[in-house]
C-alpha cells in the first residue's frame, strides 16, 4: 500500500490538469466539486498509506519511493521520489484533510465569484505543490514544492487582483518570500557542496563529516528560508497583508498549511540542528520573539482577519520555539492542533464576513452568537482551544512547547507564558467583539462602518446575519470537533498515551531533546498554563464584553505591529528605493544599460550584417559554401603539414 503513495500528490495534480484547460467549461459548482473530491481522494490514500506504514516495525518506517532520476549532471544526482516516513505522512494527512474541508467550504464561500473555476485550479495546484514539498525525498524537489506553494500563494492572495491592496499584498508576499528563498537555495548549495548529495537520507548519513561551522551555516540559511515562508521576525509583515486574499485561502495557506512549511523544514533537518545547537538557539529565540510580537500586535487589530493573521504569526513563533528547543514532536503537535483551530477560526471569520456583507471590522460587529449559532459555537471552540483552556487541544500542545522551552532556559518559558496569556486575551477580545455585546452593525451600518481598506461605499441595506450553507458549516463542525479532540494524539499523562511522540520517534527520536519532567512538575506546568489561559479569558471578558471602545488598550505601535513593517519600509524599502533609483539613474542607465544595450546592439548589428550575406542568390550561397570548404581544407592542410 505504501507504493500507492504516489497517488497522494497525483490526485490534486490531475485536478489541476483537468481544471486548468476545462475549468471554465465545467463551471460552477462542478469544477469545485471535482477539485474537492480529488483532494478528498488524496486524503483517503494518505490515510491508507498511514495505516500501512503503521503496520511496519518502527525502525523501518522510513520508505523511499524513488520514481526516476530527474536531473543527473556530473556529481549531482537529483532524483524524483517520495520519502514516506512518519513525519511526512503526518504532514500529508493533515494537509490533505484540512485542504479537503477547506475546498468544501470554498464551494460555498466562492459560489458567487466569477472566477470560481480558477480559484479551485489554483487551490489544487497549491495542494499538489504542498504535498511535493512535504513528501519529497530530497531538498531540490522540496524546493520545487516550496516555490510552487509560493507561487500559488501569490496567485491566491492577489486573486481579486482588481483590488489594489490585494495586488500589492500579493507582490509583498512574493518579495518577502524571495528573500527567504534565497537563503533556502544557498542552504541547498551548501548542503550539496559539503555532503555531495541533496537526498535527505544520504545527507543526514553524511553529516558526521561536516564541520560544525558549516552545519550552523546550513541550518541558519535553511532557517532563513523558513523565516520567509513562515512569517517570522523580521519577515512577517507580509502575512498580515496576505489577508486580502479570499478567506478560505487565508485559512488553508496562511494558517494551516503553507506557513507551517518552515517548521516542517526545521523538523526535517533535525539531525543538522542537533549537531548545530547554536543555530537551534537562534531559532528558538527568533521563535519566541515572534510569538510575543505577534501576540501583542494581535491585541490591537480591528480587522477580524488581521487578528487571526498576527495570531498565526505568534503561533508559528511557538512552533519555532519548540523546534529550536529540540522538541520537534511538540512543534509538530502544535502545528497539527493549530491547523485545526486556526483553520476553524478563519473559516468562522469567513462566515462572519459573509454575514456582515464583506465588512471585516470587529468594532462594527457584535452580538452575532445568537444569530449564527453554528458559527458562534465553533468559533468559541476555536478560541478556547487557541487560548489553551483545558481540555481543548491547544492546552496540550502549547503546554508541551512551554515545558520544553523551560528545559532549555526559563527565560524562553517566561516570554512564552506571557504570550500564552496574551493569546487568550486577544482572542477573547475578538470573540466578545464579534459574537457578544451590542449589535453595533444595526446602527453603525452606513458609511463609517467599513474597514480602512474597503474603498467601496456601503449601500445602506439591512443585514440579516445567518449561518452559512451546509458546505460551509460542515467543515466548521468537523474542524471544531478536531480542535476539541486534537489533544488526544499526544497526552502527557502516561508514556502509553504519547502517540505522536512514539509515532514520530523514528524520524526525530535520535535528536529529540523532548524533556520529561516528573509527574509533579508536569502538573505544576499544567496548572500554570491553565491559570494563564483563564486569566487571559477573564481579562478579555471583563474589558470587552460590554465595551468596544478602549483606545488605551490599543496603542498605535501595537496596531502597527511594533512598527516593524513601517521600519522595514523606511530602512530597507526606502534605502532600497534610493539605492534602486541611484542604480536606475546612474548605474543602470550609464553602466548596465550601456553594457546591455551594447551587447544587444552588437547582436543586432552583427545580425543585420550577417543577414546581408543572405542575398538570395544560389550562386552566392555556392560561393560561400566553397569558401567554407577552402578554409576547412586549409586548416587541415596546415595540420597535416605540421
Amino acid at each position: 500500500m505504501i507504493h500507492a503513495a504516489f497517488l497522494i500528490p497525483l490526485f490534486p495534480l490531475v485536478g489541476f490538469a483537468v481544471l486548468a484547460p476545462f475549468g471554465r467549461k465545467l463551471g460552477n459548482p462542478l469544477a469545485g466539486w471535482i477539485a474537492t473530491l480529488l483532494v478528498a481522494a488524496s486524503f483517503v490514500v494518505t490515510v491508507l498509506v498511514f495505516v500501512a506504514l503503521f503496520r511496519i516495525a518502527p525502525a523501518h518506517r522510513s520508505v523511499t519511493e524513488p520514481w526516476f532520476d530527474w536531473i543527473s549532471v556530473d556529481r549531482l544526482r537529483v532524483g524524483a521520489g517520495l520519502l514516506v516516513d512518519p513525519l511526512s505522512l503526518t504532514m500529508a494527512s493533515f494537509v490533505t484533510g484540512v485542504s479537503a474541508l477547506i475546498h468544501l467550504y470554498s464551494i460555498g464561500y466562492m459560489r458567487h465569484d466569477e472566477q470560481f473555476p480558477k480559484f479551485f485550479t489554483y487551490l489544487n495546484l497549491f495542494v499538489f505543490s504542498m504535498l511535493m514539498l512535504v513528501l519529497a525525498d530530497n531538498f531540490v524537489l522540496s524546493f520545487l514544492g516550496w516555490e510552487g506553494v509560493g507561487v500559488c500563494s501569490y496567485f491566491l492572495i492577489a486573486f481579486w487582483f482588481d483590488r489594489a491592496e490585494a495586488a500589492s499584498a500579493g507582490k509583498k508576499a512574493m518579495i518577502f518570500n524571495r528573500i527567504g528563498d534565497a537563503g533556502f537555495l544557498l542552504g541547498i548549495f551548501l548542503v550539496f557542496e559539503r555532503t555531495g548529495s541533496v537526498q535527505y537520507t544520504t545527507v543526514f548519513a553524511r553529516l558526521g563529516h561536516v564541520g560544525t561551522p558549516s552545519l550552523v551555516a546550513i541550518a541558519l540559511l535553511l532557517f532563513l528560508g523558513a523565516v520567509g515562508k513562515s512569517a517570522q521576525i523580521p519577515l512577517f509583515p507580509w502575512l498580515a497583508d496576505a489577508m486580502a486574499g479570499p478567506t478560505p485561502v487565508s485559512a488553508l495557506i496562511h494558517a494551516a498549511t503553507m506557513v507551517t512549511a518552515g517548521v516542517y523544514l526545521m523538523c526535517r533537518i533535525n539531525p543538522v540542528l542537533h549537531l548545530a545547537p547554536d543555530a537551534a538557539h537562534v531559532i528558538a529565540w527568533v521563535g519566541v520573539a515572534t510569538a510575543f510580537v505577534g501576540a501583542t500586535s494581535a491585541c490591537a487589530q480591528d480587522d477580524i482577519k488581521k487578528v487571526l493573521a498576527y495570531s498565526t504569526v505568534s503561533q508559528l513563533g511557538y512552533m519555532f520555539l519548540a523546534a529550536g528547543s529540540g522538541a520537534y514532536v511538540a512543534a509538530i503537535f502544535l502545528m497539527l492542533t493549530h491547523a485545526f483551530y486556526k483553520a476553524l477560526l478563519f473559516l468562522g471569520a469567513g462566515s462572519v464576513i459573509h454575514a456582515m456583507d464583506e465588512d471585516q471590522d470587529i468594532k462594527n460587529m457584535g452580538g452575532l452568537a445568537k444569530l449564527m449559532p453554528i458559527t458562534g459555537v465553533t468559533f468559541l471552540v476555536g478560541w478556547l482551544s487557541i487560548a489553551g483552556v483545558p481540555p481543548f487541544s491547544g492546552f496540550w500542545s502549547k503546554g508541551d512547547v512551554l515545558q520544553n522551552a523551560w528545559a532549555v532556559t526559563p527565560a524562553l518559558w517566561a516570554i512564552g507564558a506571557v504570550t500564552a496569556a496574551l493569546t487568550a486575551y486577544y482572542m477573547g477580545r475578538e470573540y466578545f467583539l464579534v459574537f457578544q455585546g451590542q449589535r453595533r452593525w444595526v446602527e453603525a451600518r452606513p458609511e463609517a462602518s467599513h474597514g480602512p481598506e474597503h474603498g467601496e461605499s456601503y449601500t445602506a441595506r439591512g443585514l440579516h446575519p445567518h449561518d452559512p450553507t451546509w458546505h460551509m458549516s460542515v467543515p466548521l463542525v468537523v474542524l471544531a470537533a478536531l480542535a476539541v479532540l486534537g489533544g488526544l494524539v499526544n497526552l502527557p499523562f502516561h508514556p502509553s498515551l504519547v502517540f505522536l511522540e512514539r509515532w514520530l520517534s523514528p524520524v526525530v527520536g535520535a535528536t529529540l531533546l523532548q524533556h520529561h519532567f516528573s509527574a509533579g512538575a508536569e502538573w505544576l506546568f499544567a496548572l500554570v498554563d491553565a491559570a494563564l489561559a483563564i486569566l487571559g479569558v477573564a481579562v478579555a471578558a471583563a474589558l470587552w464584553r460590554k465595551s468596544s471602545d478602549r483606545p488605551a488598550l490599543e496603542p498605535r505601535f501595537l496596531s502597527m505591529a511594533w512598527w516593524v513593517d513601517a521600519a522595514e519600509d523606511r530602512l530597507v524599502a526606502r534605502t532600497g528605493e534610493a539605492l534602486a533609483s541611484f542604480t536606475a539613474t546612474v548605474v543602470e542607465s550609464r553602466v548596465v544599460d550601456g553594457a546591455v544595450n551594447g551587447v544587444a546592439s552588437l547582436v543586432r548589428t552583427t545580425g543585420e550584417r550577417l543577414r546581408r550575406v543572405q542575398s538570395g542568390y544560389v550562386r552566392s550561397y555556392a560561393l560561400g559554401l566553397t569558401a567554407g570548404v577552402v578554409v576547412l581544407l586549409a586548416y587541415l592542410l596546415v595540420r597535416v603539414g605540421s
Binding site: 484547460p21 520514481w67 526516476f68 532520476d69 530527474w70 536531473i71 543527473s72 549532471v73 556530473d74 524524483a80 547582436v603 543586432r604 552583427t606 545580425g607 543585420e608 550577417l610 543577414r611 546581408r612 550575406v613 543572405q614 542575398s615 538570395g616 542568390y617 544560389v618 550562386r619 552566392s620 550561397y621 555556392a622 560561400g624 559554401l625 569558401a627 567554407g628 570548404v629 578554409v631 576547412l632 581544407l633 586548416y635 587541415l636 592542410l637 595540420r639 597535416v640
Partner: protein, 573 residues
C-alpha cells in the same frame, strides 16, 4: 524492394553454381522498418493511381501514420532483440542494426507518425491533393533510416540522396507560391553541390583506406597508425562539409533560411526534423565510431563549426521579423547544440546529441505546424505581428506554441531543458569550456526571440488599442475573409517551363535582404494587426500538436526513460 532482393537471391543461387559467388545473407527482419516504409510507399502510390476517384488527403495521412506506427513498433521490437542479443549486422556488413541505429529508427518513425497529422490539414487548406506529400515523406524517412543504419559510406551517400531528393521536391510542393518552387530549386542545386563534395570525400577516404565499409575503415585505422595522411584527412574534411550542409551548420547553412521560408510550412518542419535526424545519425556514426583515432584532426574543426553555428543561428534570428524565418535560423542554432555532443566525442556527448535530435524533431514539427496554422491560407502571414494576441484568439494553439517555444529556449520542465543540459554538460566534461560557454551564451540570445513570440502571443492586443478599436478589429475581421480568399487562390505563379525555374535562380524572388528589410529594428513590432482571420484548425493537426506537446512536457518532467534510451543506444554502438 523485397521482390528485387528475392530476384537477386534467385539469380545469386545460379551464380553460385556458375562462378562461386556467395550471395550475402539478408536478415529481412533487421531492415524491416525500412522495408515497411518503402513497401507502404509503393502501395500508397499504387492505390492513388488505381483508385477511380481521388482519395481524400486524410486517407493517405491515415495510411502513412499506420505505416510509420508499424515501423515504430518494429524498431522497438528490434531494440529489444538488440539489447538482448547484441547488434545485428547484415547484407555483407553494409547494414548495422545496433542500438544507435535503432534510436534513430525510432526517432524517424516518430517524426513520420506526427508529420502526416500536421500536414493533412495544411494540404486540404491549400488544396494540394494526391499522395505525393506522404509518399515523399515515407521515402525520405527510409533514406534517413538507411543513413542511420548504414555501415558503408556508399550506403550513407545513397541514404543521403534518398533523404534529400524528396525534401527538395517537398520544398516545391506548393505550385501556387513561387517562393516554394524557388526554395526547391535552391535546395536542389546547393544540395547537389554539397553531395558532389560529399562523394569526393568518400572517394578520398576510399583511396586512403581501401574500403568504403565503416567497420573495415575502422579496422584499418586501428591496425595502422596514421601519422600524416593528407588524403584521408582531406576526405574526412569533405565528408564533414557534406554532413554540415545537410544539418545546416554554419558556414554551410546559407540555403536554410531561404528554403525553410519558401517551402510549405509543414514540409519545412518535416525537413528540419528529418534532415537533422538523418544527417546527425550518419555524422555521429562516421566520426565518432569510425574515425575516433583522427579525433585530434576533426575535433577542432567541429569546434569552430559548432561555435559559428551556435552564434550565427542565434544572432541572426534575433533580427528576424518573420517567425518562419526566425525558426529557420533557430534550427541552425539547434544544430550547433547537437554538434556540441559530436565535438565532445564521448559517450555522454553522443547520448546528449541523440536526446537532442529526438526531442528537437518533435518540437520543430509542432512549431512549424503552428506557424502553418497562423500563416493561414496562402501562407503569407508569418510576421511577428500576426502572433500578437494569439493567446486570446486561440488559447489552445497559443499555449501549445508557447510550450514548444519554451522547449526550444530550454526552459525547465520541457525536453529542451534536458537536451541543452546534457550536451552542454558533455562539452564541459570534455573540457570544451569555451564551447560550453558559447552554447549558453547563444541560448541566452535565443531565449530572447522565443520569449518575444511568447510574450507577444499573450500580450493583450487590446492593451495597446482601446476597447473601441477592439470593436473595429472585429469589424475588419468580419470584412477580411472576402478579401483573403483570392489571395490564396491567386497566390503565386508557378512558371512551368524549366527555364522558368532557372529564371528563379537568376532573379530570386526570396531576395532575403528585401524580405528582411521590414525587420524590427527596435524589437517592437511596428505592424499593427487590427484584425486576424480565425485560425482554422483540424482534429488532425490538434492531435499531432498534442503528441508533440505531450512528449515535450512528459519527457521534460520525467526525462529518465528517454535519457536511458539514448544512453543505451550509445553503448550499443
Amino acid at each position: 524492394m523485397i521482390g528485387s532482393a528475392h530476384l537477386a537471391g534467385v539469380v545469386g543461387a545460379r551464380l553460385v553454381a556458375a562462378s562461386g559467388i556467395t550471395i550475402p545473407h539478408i536478415d529481412y527482419t533487421a531492415i524491416l522498418p525500412e522495408l515497411i516504409l518503402l513497401g507502404g510507399m509503393l502501395l500508397l502510390l499504387a492505390a492513388a493511381a488505381l483508385s477511380p476517384r481521388p482519395l481524400p488527403t486524410e486517407a493517405y495521412a491515415t495510411a502513412t501514420v499506420g505505416l510509420a506506427t508499424a515501423s515504430l513498433v518494429t524498431s522497438l521490437v528490434l531494440w529489444r532483440d538488440v539489447t538482448d542479443r547484441g547488434p545485428l549486422t547484415t547484407v555483407a556488413h553494409s547494414i548495422d542494426v545496433d542500438g544507435f541505429a535503432l534510436f534513430f529508427l525510432v526517432t524517424i518513425s516518430c517524426i513520420l507518425v506526427v508529420a502526416p497529422m500536421l500536414g493533412a490539414g495544411y494540404l486540404r487548406r491549400e488544396r494540394i491533393s494526391g499522395p505525393e506529400y506522404y509518399v515523399l515523406a515515407l521515402i525520405s524517412g527510409s533514406g534517413a533510416m538507411f543513413m542511420a543504419s548504414a555501415n558503408d559510406l556508399v550506403l550513407v551517400f545513397l541514404g543521403l540522396e534518398i533523404l534529400s531528393i524528396p525534401l527538395y521536391v517537398l520544398a516545391g510542393l506548393d505550385h501556387r507560391r513561387e517562393a516554394s518552387g524557388e526554395a526547391a530549386m535552391k535546395y536542389f542545386v546547393l544540395g547537389a553541390f554539397s553531395s558532389a563534395i560529399f562523394v569526393y570525400g568518400i572517394a578520398l577516404t576510399y583511396g586512403a583506406t581501401g574500403s568504403t565499409n565503416l567497420a573495415e575503415i575502422g579496422a584499418f585505422l586501428a591496425r595502422n597508425v596514421v601519422t600524416s595522411d593528407g588524403v584521408l584527412i582531406g576526405g574526412l574534411g569533405l565528408l564533414l562539409v557534406g554532413f554540415a550542409f545537410k544539418v545546416a551548420a554554419v558556414p554551410f547553412h546559407m540555403w536554410t533560411p531561404d528554403v525553410y521560408q519558401g517551402a510549405p510550412t509543414p514540409a519545412t518542419g518535416f525537413m528540419a526534423a528529418m534532415a537533422k535526424a538523418g544527417g546527425f545519425a550518419a555524422l555521429l556514426r562516421v566520426f565518432v565510431s569510425t574515425f575516433p583515432s583522427l579525433r585530434s584532426s576533426w575535433q577542432p574543426v567541429v569546434f569552430v563549426l559548432a561555435a559559428l553555428t551556435l552564434l550565427v543561428g542565434a544572432v541572426v534570428a534575433v533580427v528576424q521579423s518573420d517567425v518562419k524565418r526566425m525558426l529557420s535560423y533557430s534550427s541552425i542554432n539547434h544544430a550547433g547544440f547537437v554538434l556540441l555532443g559530436l565535438q565532445a566525442a564521448t559517450a555522454r556527448g553522443v547520448a546528449g546529441s541523440l536526446y537532442y535530435v529526438f526531442t528537437y524533431g518533435l518540437v520543430v514539427l509542432g512549431s512549424f505546424a503552428v506557424v502553418s496554422l497562423v500563416g493561414g491560407s496562402g501562407e503569407d502571414r508569418h510576421d511577428l505581428a500576426r502572433f500578437r494576441g494569439l493567446g486570446r484568439r486561440q488559447p489552445v494553439i497559443a499555449t501549445a506554441f508557447a510550450v514548444l517555444l519554451l522547449a526550444q529556449a530550454g526552459a525547465p520542465f520541457t525536453t529542451g531543458f534536458f537536451a541543452k543540459l546534457y550536451v552542454v554538460e558533455a562539452a564541459a566534461a570534455a573540457h570544451s569550456y569555451l564551447l560550453a560557454a558559447i552554447a549558453m551564451g547563444s541560448a541566452a540570445i535565443a531565449a530572447f526571440f522565443y520569449l518575444r513570440v511568447v510574450f507577444l502571443m499573450f500580450s493583450d492586443a487590446g492593451a495597446a488599442a482601446p476597447a473601441g478599436e477592439g470593436a473595429t478589429a472585429r469589424a475588419v475581421e468580419a470584412a477580411r475573409p472576402a478579401g483573403i480568399e483570392p489571395a490564396g487562390a491567386a497566390g503565386g505563379s508557378w512558371v512551368p517551363e524549366p527555364s522558368g525555374a532557372v529564371a528563379t535562380m537568376v532573379a530570386p524572388v526570396t531576395r532575403s535582404a528585401a524580405a528582411d528589410a521590414r525587420s524590427v529594428s527596435s524589437g517592437v513590432v511596428a505592424l499593427d494587426v487590427s484584425g486576424e482571420p480565425p485560425v482554422a484548425t483540424s482534429p488532425w493537426i490538434l492531435a499531432g500538436l498534442g503528441i508533440c506537446v505531450a512528449v515535450t512536457v512528459v519527457f521534460g518532467v520525467w526525462p529518465q526513460p528517454l535519457v536511458e534510451f539514448a544512453h543505451q543506444a550509445t553503448l550499443l554502438f
